[in-house]
């Protein structure tokens, strides 16, 4: 079998149909949700799954939301496969599997899990600097979900991947695909070819090792702890973080949620924020440029920060708080109702 690319869907589908009789996969249809934060490889993982399904003679539809992924924003991808798939999107409680490359994102999208489904969730957590106040004191200002919800398989991806991820940590996420492959039932060879065709050539070997480690780990995990989980997920057992609506980021185009969010912030603050940069104090360390979720800031040719896209600013204040040189301050107008304690 040769590795094909997604660029030729017509031929692929035809070939896939031919292959179907010869190589009937153990599973004929299924739905997946992949979630994580920008830069973890969610899109690549969903590409690998799609390719593996195509190679096994299944029809696949995939959709993704990655517009909010700027430096740690949420990324979600839906993958549906079967003999013939019509719709690309999933509704809550339809996914047989959830692959979460970040723990919190996994919790957010857990409502998509079908009763009896399995969620492979990396225990890696990327908490934004402003998200909580005191971890040990218990004053976390958003719900983490106490414990491990039923149906969830927590995977310490770095530990499972081992040496494979020592050079490039992002490879650790491939162990989730390895674990998934045990349950999905496509042939191992198909998975390996899909990985080899998708990841950069120099990372193929490490990814395959991580994949194998994930497979071995999950098989062992199923024998030891797994029997209690898996088939007994009820909707009520899944704990949803309060105040988070997982469907929101899936609703519109990539620009939609971002625009509405900034508009609401500006309404509440009563006017556009003003970015003040003290050029003499800036040392060009680039921290503000990296942490800004809206990419408002950039360095000029003197390595000094400038607000190149000031209209995008939502006044989150990360740049001002994390500037070691105190060179940035964000000024916002006080609307009347804030001063009087309205909201």
């Amino acid at each position: 079998m040769t590795v094909k690319t997604i660029d030729q869907p017509g031929t692929l589908v035809e070939q896939a149909r031919d292959l179907k009789e010869a190589n009937e996969p153990a599973i004929s249809q299924g739905n997946l949700v992949l979630a994580g934060v920008g830069g973890q490889g969610i899109i690549m993982a969903s590409n690998i799954i799609s390719l593996a399904c195509l190679e096994s003679g299944l029809d696949v539809k995939k959709s993704e939301v990655h517009g909010m992924s700027q430096r740690g924003g949420t990324v979600v991808s839906h993958v549906r496969f079967g003999h013939e798939v019509h719709s690309v999107m999933l509704e809550p409680k339809q996914a047989e599997w959830i692959i979460a490359l970040e723990w919190e994102e996994g919790l957010r999208f857990l409502e998509y899990l079908k009763p009896g489904g399995v969620a492979f969730m990396s225990t890696e957590r990327r908490i934004p600097p402003t998200a909580f106040a005191d971890r040990l004191g218990g004053k976390i200002d958003y719900a983490l979900g106490a414990g491990v919800p039923r149906g969830v398989v927590p995977v310490d991806t770095y530990a499972v991947a081992g040496e494979a991820a020592a050079e490039r940590p992002v490879i650790a996420q491939t162990v989730l695909l390895g674990a998934l492959s045990v349950d999905m039932g496509l042939s191992q060879e198909t998975w390996r070819e899909a990985i080899a065709a998708t990841v950069p050539p120099k990372a193929v070997q490490a990814n395959l090792i991580a994949f194998e480690n994930g497979r071995t780990w999950y098989e062992r995990w199923k024998k030891t702890t797994g029997s209690k989980l898996g088939s007994s997920v009820k909707a009520n057992d899944i704990q949803q973080p309060e105040g988070v609506s997982p469907g929101v980021s899936l609703g519109g185009s990539s620009n939609g949620p971002s625009a509405s969010a900034s508009a609401s912030v500006k309404d509440w603050r009563g006017g556009a924020p003003r970015i003040e940069v003290i050029r003499d104090w800036c040392k060009g360390c680039n921290i503000c440029v990296i942490v800004c979720p809206e990419r408002v800031l950039s360095l000029d040719r003197f390595d000094i920060v400038v607000a190149s896209k000031p209209d995008r600013c939502t006044a989150c204040g990360l740049c001002a708080r994390l500037c070691p040189d105190m060179a940035i301050e964000i000024w916002v107008d006080t609307p009347a109702h804030v001063g009087t304690g309205g909201e």
Binding site: W103, D134, A146, P154, I287, R321
Partner: protein, 313 residues
């Protein structure tokens, strides 16, 4: 304290209807000294920034706040705060601060020290100040290296880390500064990161409120020496890296069997809890000495008499 401002006034009451999003007003900064001498991307600057935000919220002016510091990059940051500042001998800020507090118990005394200054050269002074429970706040900025003197290994340098004195990797176990202070008798022990300035702000505020020896360790970054010799990237990379190896939901996941932890080739900072780690109540040194004018630790008077009697006896 009479100088404490209402938080709402400080944040929302600025003139012109425009407020700074961080709540920090630069009036507490010594403008003539700026820009400061810290390297680009140094975590100490973020801590100074967050500290000024807290101080702006709490105090109208810093006439009754004294900052004491020793020697090192961390200690240099007091030079930029427009308060009563005392730049002292290497490792001895806590000794100077103890004397200052006993002479002027009405002052709020804050000691800024570093991991070399506070744990190595001044290690003895730290444990004894904690033991005596002097009513002051000690902020230890831990960047795991001697930054100012050229990147030598510090007592907090993690195993395997490369420094100018450990070119083959550090072979000595590091201190856990917060545990040390707790064991020595500090009545308030907390840890924060420069990655989380708001967490630092809240903990610093709590430490100032606490009566007794309050110890706050801040994990900070040295970009020029620690970051460069260990190839941790630039300031932004190191800052993001602070959160990368944080524990997940450890208490619940401990029962999940995994493979053996890998030996990572690069030295990484061990996973350290942040937040308030210890809080207790004990008589302060001022109370046991019978010095008037300080804050009361709230421990019953009877115990005070007992303690003084024991001391006399």
């Amino acid at each position: 304290m009479s100088t404490v401002m209402d938080t709402d006034t400080a944040v929302h009451g600025a003139a012109g209807g425009s407020v700074a999003i961080t709540g920090k007003e630069k009036r507490l900064l010594r403008h003539a000294m700026m820009p400061h001498m810290l390297c680009p991307g140094c975590g100490h600057g973020i801590v100074l920034d967050a500290m000024l935000s807290v101080l702006s919220e709490r105090y109208e002016d810093l006439d009754n706040v004294a900052f004491v510091a020793g020697i090192g990059c961390s200690s240099r940051i007091i030079g930029y705060i427009d308060a009563c500042t005392l730049h002292t001998a290497h490792g001895r800020p806590l000794s100077f601060a103890t004397g200052l507090k006993l002479a002027r118990p009405d002052l709020t005394v804050v000691v800024i020290t570093g991991d070399g200054d506070g744990l190595s050269i001044g290690g003895n002074h730290l444990i004894h100040a904690a033991r005596r429970n002097v009513d002051l706040t000690c902020v230890l900025l831990n960047n795991e290296i001697y930054g100012m003197t050229g990147g030598q290994a510090a007592p907090t340098t993690v195993l395997g880390a490369y420094t100018s004195t450990t070119p083959l990797g550090n072979t000595q176990h590091p201190f856990d500064a917060a545990e040390l202070a707790k064991a020595a008798g500090a009545t308030f022990v907390a840890r924060s990161q420069s990655y989380r300035p708001q967490v630092f702000g809240e903990l610093f505020s709590q430490a100032l409120d606490h009566v007794g020896f309050s110890f706050l360790e801040v994990m900070s970054d040295c970009t020029e020496y620690f970051g460069r010799t260990n190839r941790f990237g630039e300031g932004a990379d190191m800052l993001m890296g602070q959160a990368r190896y944080e524990p997940s939901i450890d208490a619940d996941l401990a029962r999940i069997p995994t493979v053996e932890p890998v030996t990572i080739k690069q030295p990484v900072r061990p996973v350290l809890p942040i937040g308030v780690l210890h809080r207790s109540s004990r008589l302060t040194l001022e109370e046991t000495l019978g010095i008037e004018g300080g804050r009361s630790s709230g421990v019953a008077d009877g115990k005070l008499d007992d303690a003084v009697q024991r001391m006399d006896g």
